[in-house]
């Protein structure tokens, strides 16, 4: 029983940050039709920025709990700095051309940002452990967990909830849904599709950076993060269905649990269990667990 | 002489909608048959069944006596049934010449060769008469997207004719074509088909076209054939007038 609980809880925690990151990727695809391979780099930049911010903040004498705000601020900074720049500055040049080309452009961006990150922050790991221990420990099913990990779970739930609310109950959300559903019609009806694009893309960057910022306290922030993250979030997005928020949630859980199970039961399978799951799902439902239009129903 | 096409009691429903009800007709070699009827009357379903796109729930389709019921479009076309499409189905990034070469290549034995050049002499020899019959020669190297609608229709039909079919199904050949162009278009089509023995079934909404080019007319309503005969007689038929043409008296 303990074993199952361990796998389940670890899987849930893993799924949380994965959801936050992957839902950004899937939203960007749903609205802009871009499969952003550089999404993992944005996560990494978020993590590095947060680590730097945290490092700076905790040398001062501000209240320790405000450190969490630093994490959020880091994500916001990355989003604002890079989102509009990437979308307006580069990606929009390829909208009239083939989807595959856009993927290649984001692949080129991945290569560029990978080295740029290394050039800016160097090859050595960064740590941002202060916020990690602030909330103390929790005991569940007789096992000890760091309470921060459940903050992550809470953050994921909050993100999911806000997204649902935002997409379904606000005007902007309706506009976004309209664009996802039919870009041409939306344009014809007067929706400023360009603005929606920039907004959604920047929001996607924010989510990636947020995932990175809030994971930073748990890990050592070093080169190579982006590759792991993009591989995982890509798998989640494909399993869940390109463009589906519900799908991203379910798939994140699936992937989180699969990885957790692999780590505890057969560590050597960790690297490919995710792709096995992905291939398995695609073999039966090539469009993923939820189709894009499911987005309307949340 | 056996009919080139014989259908026996074809029946097809899509859920609650019965699209074909006990359709039994015959078409003879070289005949020009017009199919009329309102939208949803069953003309397109009929054509789809005969060309293999849909399997009927009941009934048979016989081509020159051979049972082709339920065969896939690919096999049906190899048996000698070709069709054109209401919206011309062309290979959009290739030239009209290449479109026809592919159709020819697939229709001749050894067509899928990786060795024989696409522009092999044998195929080119067949290409030229085809181009000129259908008036396509001036357009042979043009971009499909820039072709006038009528030319696209002709290309679509020319491609269907490469297989030297026994039966040709034309799905609304003049739809989408400007009114003044309809007759000239049909003239070209019928002239191109003239010395072949192919039986032609064409779906049409324009009664003038039907009256002028069809030897025989089948009127569809509610999945059933409600009239079958010479155009003048069918068009005067009371049921046809009530359910199809809407002409009074």
């Amino acid at each position: 029983m303990d074993f199952v609980a361990t796998i389940a809880i670890d899987g849930l925690i893993d799924a949380s940050w994965l959801f936050i990151v992957a839902v950004g990727l899937t939203l960007v695809f749903g609205v802009l039709n871009i499969l952003n391979i550089a999404h993992g780099n944005l996560y990494a930049i978020g993590a590095y920025t947060a680590a730097t911010g945290v490092g700076w903040y905790y040398t001062g004498s501000g209240p320790p709990m405000l450190g969490y705000l630093v994490l959020v601020a880091a994500a916001l900074a990355v989003a604002v700095a890079l989102g509009p720049l990437m979308e307006r500055g580069l990606l929009r040049l390829f909208y009239e051309r083939d989807e595959v080309l856009l993927v290649l452009v984001t692949y080129a961006l991945f290569l560029i940002l990978e080295d740029a990150t290394k050039l800016i922050w160097g090859p050595n790991p960064y740590y941002a452990y202060e916020p990690y221990g602030l909330l103390g420990d929790i005991s569940l099913f007789g096992l000890d967990y760091v309470a921060y990990d459940f903050l992550l779970v809470g953050l994921a739930l909050l993100t999911g909830g806000l997204l649902w609310f935002g997409l379904n109950r606000t005007i902007i959300g309706k506009l976004v849904l309209a664009v996802i559903h039919d870009r041409e019609m939306s344009r014809a009806m007067g929706i400023n599709v360009t603005r929606v694009f920039v907004l959604v893309f920047t929001f996607g960057v924010f989510l990636a950076a947020l995932g990175g910022a809030f994971t930073a306290p748990k890990i050592s922030v070093q080169p190579g993060l982006s590759v792991t993250v993009i591989l995982l979030s890509f798998a989640v997005v494909v399993i869940g269905g390109l463009g589906s928020v519900e799908g991203a949630a379910l798939a994140a859980l699936l992937v989180g649990l699969a990885r957790s199970a692999a780590i505890h039961l057969m560590p050597s399978a960790e690297l490919f269990i995710v792709y096995l799951v992905m291939a398995g799902v695609l073999a039966f439902r090539p469009e993923g667990l939820f189709q894009r239009t499911a987005l309307r129903k949340i | 002489m056996t009919a080139v096409l014989e259908t026996r009691s074809l029946h097809k429903s899509f859920g609650a909608v019965v699209a074909a009800r006990d359709v039994s007709i015959e078409a003879r070699r070289g005949e020009r048959l017009g199919l009329i009827g309102n939208n949803g009357a069953g003309k397109t379903t009929f054509v789809n069944i005969v060309s293999g796109y849909i399997k009927p729930d009941r009934g048979e389709v016989l081509l020159d006596g051979a049972d082709i019921t339920g065969l896939s479009p690919r096999l049906v076309s190899r048996q000698g049934v070709s069709r054109s499409f209401q919206i011309p189905q062309l290979f959009a990034t290739l030239t009209p010449e290449e479109n026809l070469l592919i159709a020819l290549g697939l229709a001749r034995p050894g067509g899928l060769s990786s060795w024989r050049a696409a522009r092999a002499q044998a195929l080119l020899d067949e290409l030229e008469p085809l181009l000129s019959r259908f008036g396509l020669a001036p357009y042979r190297h043009h971009v499909i997207a820039a072709l006038p609608g009528g030319v696209r229709k002709l290309l679509d039909i020319a491609m269907a004719m490469t297989g030297r079919p026994k039966l040709l199904l034309l799905d609304e050949p003049t739809s989408g074509v400007a009114a003044a162009e309809k007759f000239p278009l049909m003239d070209v089509i019928m002239a191109a088909l003239e010395d072949t023995a192919v039986a032609v079934l064409f779906i049409e909404h324009d009664m003038e076209i039907v009256g002028r080019y069809a030897e025989r007319v089948l009127a569809f309503y509610d999945g059933r054939v409600i009239a079958d005969g010479a155009p003048a007689a069918v068009l005067r038929n009371a049921d046809v007038q009530r359910y199809v043409t809407g002409v009074n008296g």
Binding site: E99, F110, Y275 | R74
Partner: protein, 321 residues
């Protein structure tokens, strides 16, 4: 005709390989090997399918050759390359039924997943070398064992050039043939092709198998050139490079594929030598520049959402309805 051009190209390459410095010749071998894989991918793309997982076959070919050399005591280059191609082909035969029904981005992601599974498995399988891989010794050529590394380099180059010349000629023949044209047609309108009597599934499978075979052959050649095999051969970035090469070269000119591949190796080599900490960035910038400024290479390959080509239209220029 093709045969004469191919022979001429081979002789020109043989001469060039003799005159040019060893490091360039080595890069050319690696470039040509990858070019073979990219050529197979172009074949697939002409039929409308993009594979993001050709690394699977590239890796399969490399490992087939590497393991045959290490554990099978086979040293002949021709045998090794052949075994690479065959193993990749068999692998493709096994997975083709799974893939043949899919198109577009689903086909792409499924191939990606399969290649990453292979990567993951190889990484953790220590018998096959694990993440370190296996080192290979120099191969022999029909009984001839080169006495020193310079000769080995040149011999491998000649061997590779010969293979490339033959394959290029065959491919050119195929592209100009009816079945080559058919692939293009099916990419445009699969249903019409079916109505004309073609079998899209069959064409897809054949293209897939040939692409796999070429991938395997390329992988084996690369393995022999690099003297090393490791799971990176199946990593998604490797597959991504093949896609990039295919895009860069376009589907019209076969020579362009190998030229592009050589160019890519040069850029990579140059960048990693002079900007070791930012060669990836250099590569990325190179990619972006190519995508932005080389439409002729990119032109006909990606037609799906393109605007129609501008061609002069003679006389009756009636507007389409």
């Amino acid at each position: 005709m093709n045969a004469i051009i191919a022979l001429g190209a081979f002789l020109a390459l043989a001469l060039a390989g003799f005159l040019l410095p060893g490091w360039l010749v080595f890069l050319a071998v690696v470039g040509f090997a990858k070019g073979l894989v990219a050529l197979g991918l172009i074949l697939l793309m002409r039929g409308g399918l993009v594979s993001f997982g050709q690394g699977l076959f590239y890796c399969a070919g490399a490992y087939a050759a590497g393991l045959a050399m290490r554990y099978g005591a086979i040293g002949d280059a021709a045998l090794l390359v052949a075994s690479g191609a065959v193993v990749a082909l068999v692998l493709a035969l096994v997975i083709a039924p799974l893939l043949a029904g899919y198109r577009g981005i689903f086909f792409a992601t499924l191939t990606l997943a399969l290649s990453m599974i292979a990567y993951g498995i190889l990484n953790k399988t220590y018998v096959l070398g694990g993440s370190d891989g296996i080192n290979l010794r120099a191969p022999s050529f029909f009984g001839y064992q080169p006495p020193n590394s310079a000769m080995a380099n040149y011999a491998l180059f000649l061997f590779t050039s010969a293979i490339v010349a033959v394959i290029a000629a065959l491919m050119r023949r195929h592209f100009d043939s009816m079945s080559g044209l058919l692939s293009l047609a099916m990419r445009d309108n699969e249903i019409r092709a079916e109505y004309l009597g073609a079998s899209p599934r069959r064409v897809t499978v054949v293209n897939f198998l040939v692409a796999a075979g070429l991938g395997g052959a390329g992988g084996a050649l690369a393995a022999l050139a690099l003297g090393h095999i490791d799971p990176e051969f199946a990593f998604w970035t490797t597959s991504g490079e093949f896609v990039f090469l295919a895009i860069l070269a376009g589907h019209a000119s076969i020579a362009a594929v190998f030229l592009a591949s050589l160019l890519l190796e040069l850029v990579r080599s140059f960048s990693s030598q002079y900007f070791p900490n930012s060669w990836q960035m250099a590569l990325g910038i190179f990619l972006l520049l190519v995508i932005l400024f080389l439409p002729q290479g990119l032109g006909s390959l990606l037609r799906r959402r393109r605007k129609p080509r501008e061609l002069p239209i003679a006389s009756r220029a009636e507007a389409p309805p």
